[in-house]
């Protein structure tokens, strides 16, 4: 389970002064459910997800990941999380298997367990054809599969995806979407951010709309549609964010 409690993150910028990237954001994601975090570029999605993955430390507030506090026990949190984003690249000079093994070992898996996990994951993701190929020689789809295997190797109960399909071709994006759906089916807690509304409509059980660092709206897709009397999710976002966006402009 993910429980964000008044999460806030401020940055200091020489030109713009203090920037509130995330401002007092609270939400809960349940196991076996997918939480979609929606918002424009710079809304605060990546910063929120990075704080949940303990890559960034909150300025105020905290979050509990599977019962562990992100501020007090960041290493335990990371052991319970699989984090995937377009910015999480692979080590070019390792092959696919070595890449996954490395993260398995960092997660404290013993060698027999690691071997078993890798065999299972490589079979499930159909990766055996390129397990010995260096990551810099892999196709985009093969790289994404290797990244997925890397996040899955320690079988984390919580998965965090930050715009995982951005810039990918249709087939590779489908692999990722299928994988996210599979995570839910396996009872994992999943949170992901995206710009692609069709992905949200297909996957998300719960949606949060974030803008200017604040969580403006939250609910299931049907709740949001009913509240805003609008079927199209894109229109709902425009309605939620629009007044603020116009004010900022």
């Amino acid at each position: 389970m993910i429980e964000a409690r008044s999460l806030s993150k401020r940055f200091q910028d020489k030109k713009r002064g203090e920037i509130r990237a995330v401002d007092n954001v609270s939400f809960t994601c349940q196991p076996g459910k997918i939480y979609g975090l929606l918002g424009a570029n710079g809304a605060g999605k990546t910063t929120t997800l990075r704080m949940l993955a303990t890559i960034l430390e909150p300025t105020d507030g905290t979050a509990l990941i599977n019962g562990f506090d992100v501020v007090e026990h960041p290493e335990k949190v990371r052991a319970n999380v699989g984090f995937l984003s377009t910015a999480t690249a692979l080590y070019p000079r390792l092959n696919a298997q070595e890449m996954v093994e490395y993260f398995g070992r960092l997660n404290g898996l013993d060698e027999p367990t690691l071997k078993k996990r890798i065999d299972e994951i490589f079979l499930r993701l159909n990766m055996n054809d390129f397990r010995d190929r260096r990551c810099d020689k892999l196709s985009t789809g093969q790289k994404q599969k290797t990244s997925i295997a890397r996040t899955l190797v320690h079988d984390p109960p919580v998965m965090i995806f930050d715009e995982p399909t951005t810039g990918l071709d249709v087939m590779t994006a489908r692999t990722i979407i299928g994988f996210i759906s599979d995570c839910r089916d396996r009872g994992k807690t999943v949170i992901f951010s995206t710009h692609i509304m069709s992905e949200v409509e297909r996957l998300c059980d719960h949606i949060g709309i974030i803008h200017g660092g604040k969580l403006l709206e939250e609910g299931t897709l049907s709740e949001l549609r009913a509240k805003h009397n609008e079927h199209n999710l894109e229109e709902i976002i425009v309605k939620v964010v629009g007044p603020l966006a116009n004010t900022e402009a």
């Binding site: 984003s85 910015a87 690249a89 070019p92 000079r93 390792l94 960092l106 890397r150």
Partner: protein, 403 residues
């Protein structure tokens, strides 16, 4: 600290490092091949040139001397030179290498000798031009032989023994062991090379493991793993340190091969001979001591370079930050080579300079254990402080995610 995690990070970094072609070139190939090729090539070339210069009989011109046939005859009798006819532009001819030297005999030189009044013969040559120097040397030898002959005749005329002008001989006897003789000349240089190579060997991996990770987009990947920042830094640092020490070791080995080449090409006398002697008489104690003293310095370099490189977003940016660092190392290391710079308690606390100075002493077979302990200890403190700084820098979000 989790040693298992540090070891996992280290082994992964080592695997990647060994697979990097640039690493093989900068850490293995260049140190192993550059010294033998460079030094061996230079030695063989200079040996060939010197040999050729010795074979050629230099042309020497005699200026004036028409009234001094005896000295002219002495010069002409020397088979090592070829006396050429007089020409008024002899200086130009020396410059243009048409002749190699000229002997200027003053007017009335022989008459002066007979009257026993002082007189001087001048030899003109082109300094730095080896064939000209050989020509001048041969001409000077003929003149000295002639002078000795004149002295001998004067003494005989007066029924005086030759020993009158040379009542006793002097003889110099070296009591310093060969390693000290060589060490005094080359010891400082070897210490300097080890220190400099520890630095240059650390630069590339320090960049690759910090700014390189940012540029390739793998920094966020590794930060999302459960490894602590401390273990991550220590694993990376260990690899950078290994690279620094490997570069220095391979370079010293390569220098050994280069010195062997010098010996092969017949350099057994003079400075080259000392170098060869040094190499073959340096015991493992001296070499290990130098590496031991350089170890905390390599720690300092590795940690400082990693810390600085981490501020950069790209490989190129990191290179521009680290290039000036080379000067910071070269200057104190070179200062230790200057004559008169001796190890004092105050200097023992100055990093780099102190290590370079103590390496120079070790190479001459001198072990001041107190100074060595002080230098090793102070360098360890600096190294530990640098590691602490590196760990702290790795925990700064503003550095890791600089935009």
């Amino acid at each position: 600290m989790n040693l298992h995690a540090v070891s996992v990070v280290y082994r992964k970094e080592l695997t990647e490092w060994l697979r990097d072609r640039r690493t093989l070139i900068s850490t293995v190939l260049v140190p192993l091949l550059a010294f033998p090729i460079l030094i061996g090539g230079m030695i063989s070339l200079s040996t060939m040139l010197i040999g050729q210069a010795r074979k050629d009989i230099p042309k020497v011109m005699i200026i004036h001397g028409e009234d001094s046939p005896a000295v002219v005859a002495a010069l002409r009798a020397n088979k090592e030179i070829e006396v050429v006819p007089y020409a008024s532009n002899w200086k130009d001819q020396i410059s243009e290498k048409l002749i190699r030297a000229a002997v200027e005999i003053p007017e009335g030189f022989q008459a002066s000798l007979e009257k026993a009044t002082p007189a001087a013969v001048q030899i003109d040559y082109y300094e730095g031009e080896i064939k000209s120097e050989f020509g001048a040397d041969h001409a000077e030898k003929s003149l000295k032989d002639y002078r000795d002959e004149v002295i001998k005749k004067r003494l005989e005329t007066k029924n005086l023994p030759v020993s009158l002008i040379s009542p006793f001989d002097t003889k110099k006897q070296n009591i310093a062991p060969p390693e000290k003789v060589g060490g005094a000349t080359f010891g400082g240089f070897i210490g300097y090379m080890v220190i400099l190579l520890c630095m240059t060997g650390a630069i590339y991996p320090a960049i690759d493991l910090t700014a390189g990770e940012k540029e390739r987009g793998t920094m966020e990947t590794i930060l999302s793993s459960p490894v602590s920042r401390l273990d991550l830094v220590l694993g990376k640092f260990s690899l950078v340190l290994s690279a620094a020490l490997a570069t220095a070791s391979l370079s010293v080995l390569s220098m050994g091969v280069s010195f062997s080449l010098i010996r092969h090409f017949g350099g057994s006398s003079g400075a080259r001979g000392e170098a060869v002697q040094l190499l073959f008489q340096l015991g493992p104690k001296a070499v290990l001591s130098v590496f031991l003293m350089a170890l905390p310095l390599a720690v300092l370099f590795s940690a400082v370079l990693m810390t600085i490189a981490l501020f950069a977003k790209t490989y190129k940016e990191a290179q521009s930050y680290l290039t000036p660092m080379t000067f910071l190392v070269v200057i104190p290391a070179v200062a230790s080579l200057l004559p008169g710079v001796e190890l004092t308690p105050k200097l023992a606390l100055v990093p780099i300079l102190s290590t370079s100075l103590v390496c120079k002493e070790i190479m001459t077979g001198t072990y001041h254990w107190g100074s060595m302990a002080l230098i090793f200890g102070s360098s360890c403190v600096y190294g530990a402080a640098a590691i602490f700084l590196a760990v702290k820098t790795f925990q700064r979000e503003s550095v890791l995610f600089r935009s």
